[in-house]
Symmetry: C3
Subunit: 96 residues, 3 copies
């Protein structure tokens, strides 16, 4: 953006701030994404690593009845469950 | 970044803008995360609260056959489903 | 923030940068959200579109035993699976 009329220092600074901040935000935002991992364990319960949240659970014995407790703990509800897994995601910068 | 050669006002301002904006952007971005919640209902259907999207569904009767409709509605496909739950997430600032 | 004591150029610039950058970051962040889609296929395997990550899988035959491979591929583990679906999400700007 060029600055045709008489430019007060404010005006100049504001223009510079706006374009600079937008460039920085866009460059950082382009690196923001969902970072996901899987965890599994024997038995009917498993927890996501710290900082992650469970987005779903899977269970052994073909069981589709499960619930998420405390945002990151998967629990499979059927009987004699041999394994439980959790899909765990968080927001992070891709360079992580 | 230090400014060795003769610094024009632009240069000085740009350096200040850049470092200040980066600090602000990083501090705000560090608070961005996935905010998730669970909803469940009797029967074969349940919907996420407004603003949330379903990341998965769970069903009663050990049923693992489900689908997500309209981005936020879980539907369990097996017969005689007694309950349906949805895992619902969105992006937000952690201070929310 | 008003600037009562004698304001150096730095001070003025920093105040302007801070408020302007915060406004820009917040406006852009308000457009950041999870963008999700469903994909399904015959058989026991399906993959999310490029750029998306699987947050969960669903299977035919009421099967709740599945796993996610390579961050975006759903595999249903029960026998004679007729269909597999994946719930796929990524972070994007809502205007996308």
């Amino acid at each position: 953006q060029s600055c045709t009329q008489s430019c007060t220092v404010d005006n100049v600074i504001n223009l510079m701030v706006k374009s600079s901040a937008e460039a920085i935000v866009s460059s950082i935002l382009s690196k923001v994404d969902m970072i996901c991992t899987n965890v599994s364990a024997r038995g009917a319960d498993v927890s996501c690593p710290s900082g992650y949240k469970a987005t779903s659970c899977a269970c052994g014995m073909a069981c589709g009845s499960w619930d998420i407790r405390g945002n990151s703990d998967c629990h499979c509800q059927c009987r004699n469950i041999d394994w439980t897994s959790a899909r765990c995601c968080k927001i992070g910068l891709l360079s992580e």
